[in-house]
């Protein structure tokens, strides 16, 4: 660094000055954008528990077991329930939580071209309601992930604006650990001084929350940098998917009926899921989507048992129950497994409520760290920046006008070291 020699010449303490530079980088990293980053952290924190918020707000979205809770409904029973309650509707997909406090959902299409999502009790089959037109969960995700900006042509601009803040966040983490000498001692002797002043309290909080959040901040910022890369790759048509071209049911398998009034001989959903579960005993079907046309497959999916971050899915021929495509963990490349894990790692949605609450807690800490950083900065960094600038000025042009070349607000900003 060209500046280190000049500061060294003055002070004779190069290490201390290098630390000072690190410290200034740390201090400046988020400050000019703190309000935006604060908003992203806050909405992200809410987004981790948005499903639970809907659960609290809307009783129809809950899966209350009856007194004598029997087995969960099978997919065919769910289809029957929907056909009875909404005879005009056509089911597009069903998502059945394997074991959860949430009602199962069926996405259905109506003759007036609308699609809606029904909440169905997984034990009793009662259609408890439908998801409201304002989908809070989707809204918070959109607000957090891309500022609700449109996706008309490739990735949303909002997506880039949000994900690029991961870069200063990661730099903040690294520089923070560099300047916080022997930060590991903070684990053994945590310090939160309530009795000095606000700056000291915010500072103590910032350091304490920071060291306990090292893994969380690393996960959030690295996964977000992946989101940034993902946008760039997709927008430039770079793909490393091993999925290949979409497959269709062979024409020979699709029956030709003698008259149009005959019912096409589709196998039932339970037959299709049974075929998958027979072929793969460790597969737990939790969602199914209906064939999108006469040459399309049943797509049956479920969370991988061996690697719960990812979902696996299997395409089943709807006429003969043959499994014609599998996308299981063993079918994925390492790159697909790693990049596919980024989103679940970012949202914390792969264990259940417990992990979501952990993410929520650290999300609040991170949001408060952005705020406390701003509070500390506005009280202290002015002064430190001015000090370094002053040292350079002395070296470069040692003249008497020095004082007037430095922002005087910084010099005057009172508060002793």
């Amino acid at each position: 660094m060209p500046t280190s020699t000049s500061t060294k010449a003055i002070t004779g303490k190069p290490r201390a000055n290098r630390a000072k530079i690190w410290f200034l980088v740390h201090s400046w990293m988020a400050m000019p954008i703190w309000a935006f980053v604060f908003f992203i952290c806050l909405t992200g924190t809410i987004a981790t528990v948005s499903q639970e918020i809907v659960w609290l707000a809307d009783p129809a979205s809950r899966a209350n077991p009856p007194a004598q809770a029997g087995n969960l409904l099978s997919f065919d029973e769910i289809v029957a329930v929907v056909n009875e309650g909404h005879p005009e509707a056509i089911i597009q997909s069903i998502s059945r939580p394997v074991k959860s406090q949430f009602a199962l959902t069926a996405r259905i299409s109506y003759p007036d071209t609308t699609t809606r999502t029904l909440y169905i009790n997984p034990y009793t089959g009662v259609i408890q309601g439908e998801s409201s037109r304002f989908d809070f969960r989707q809204f918070v995700r959109g607000l957090h992930g891309w500022l609700l900006m449109p996706w008309t042509n490739g990735y949303s601009w909002g997506w880039y604006l949000v994900s690029i803040t991961a870069v200063p966040m990661l730099i903040s983490l690294i520089t923070g650990l560099v300047v916080y000498k022997r930060f590991w001692r903070g684990f053994l002797s945590p310090r939160l001084r309530f009795n000095v002043n606000a700056r000291v309290l915010w500072g103590d909080f910032h350091r304490l929350a920071g060291i306990w959040s090292i893994p969380f901040i690393a996960i959030i910022s690295i996964t977000s940098i992946w989101f940034l890369l993902q946008g760039i790759l997709q927008d430039n048509q770079v793909s490393f998917s091993t999925a290949g071209a979409p497959i269709y049911v062979d024409r020979a398998d699709v029956p030709q009926l003698s008259s149009n009034s005959q019912t096409p001989p589709f196998i039932s959903l339970d037959e299709a899921t049974a075929a998958v579960e027979t072929a793969f005993p460790d597969f737990q079907a939790s969602f199914v989507s209906m064939p999108g046309n006469a040459y399309a497959h049943y797509r049956i999916g479920g969370r991988s048992v061996s690697y719960p971050l990812l979902f696996e899915n299997v395409s089943v021929n709807p006429y003969n129950a043959k499994i014609e495509q599998t996308r299981r963990i063993s079918d994925l490349s390492w790159l697909e497994i790693i990049t596919g894990s980024m989103r679940p790692l970012h949202t914390g949605d792969f264990v259940g409520l417990s992990l979501k609450l952990v993410y929520f807690f650290f999300g609040i800490l991170l949001t408060l760290m952005v705020f406390s950083g701003m509070m500390i900065w506005s009280k202290r960094t002015f002064r430190d920046t001015a000090a370094v600038l002053r040292e350079r000025k002395i070296k470069q042009q040692p003249n008497k006008q020095m004082d007037s070349q430095i922002p005087t607000y910084a010099l005057n900003e009172g508060e002793s070291a």
Binding site: S109, D112, R133, L147, L148, L257, Y295, A296
Partner: protein, 177 residues
């Protein structure tokens, strides 16, 4: 640059000085401005604003009546390296639902059922066909919609691309120039 000391208190109290590091909060204007469009898009995708952004009316295809729409009026969207796509939406009349096996669409007349073009996806009430804008397509071409019945019967209609999607016709015109 160097200011007399006397002016500095005024400088320190200026709005710019006090607010400059909170200005990134102004980025939150973006979601506020985008919100009505966000809800519009959402209503569109839930089918609450009709079959598509631009209705192309009812059409009789052999024995079957269908409604057709241009899903959005944007220029064709890019699909991978391969090509650009234009998406249409269609719905089948109540009585044709059990009879129609599949719907296909392409630019230019297909030679047979196997070259009928992109197949539709969705439910009989609302299905989508994303039709590739082929390299050889011209702006004055026709689009051909082919319906296949479960009994093997095939019925077709055609209409000028410029009527079905003015934005796609404009796109092709620009590309071919």
């Amino acid at each position: 640059m160097s200011q007399p000391r006397a002016s500095q208190p005024r400088h320190r109290k200026s709005l710019w000085f006090r607010w400059r590091f909170h200005l990134s909060g102004l980025l939150l204007i973006l979601p506020m401005v985008a919100m009505p469009f966000y809800f519009d898009d959402l209503a569109m995708s839930r089918g609450e604003k009709g079959l598509g952004e631009r209705d192309l009316g009812q059409h009789q295809v052999g024995p079957w009546q269908i409604q057709l729409a241009e899903w959005d009026t944007n220029p064709p969207w890019r699909d991978g390296v391969a090509s650009y796509m234009k998406t249409f939406s269609l719905s089948l009349c109540e009585s044709c639902i059990p009879e129609v096996k599949a719907a296909y669409m392409r630019i230019g007349k297909p030679r047979n059922l196997r070259t009928a073009g992109a197949i539709s996806f969705g439910t009989p009430y609302r299905q989508f066909i994303s039709m590739p804008i082929t390299e050889s397509a011209t702006a004055d071409a026709d689009i051909w919609l082919t319906l296949e019945g479960w009994d093997g019967s095939v019925h077709q209609i055609s209409m000028p691309l410029a009527d079905a999607s003015p934005s796609a016709a404009t796109f092709i015109q620009r590309r071919n120039h």
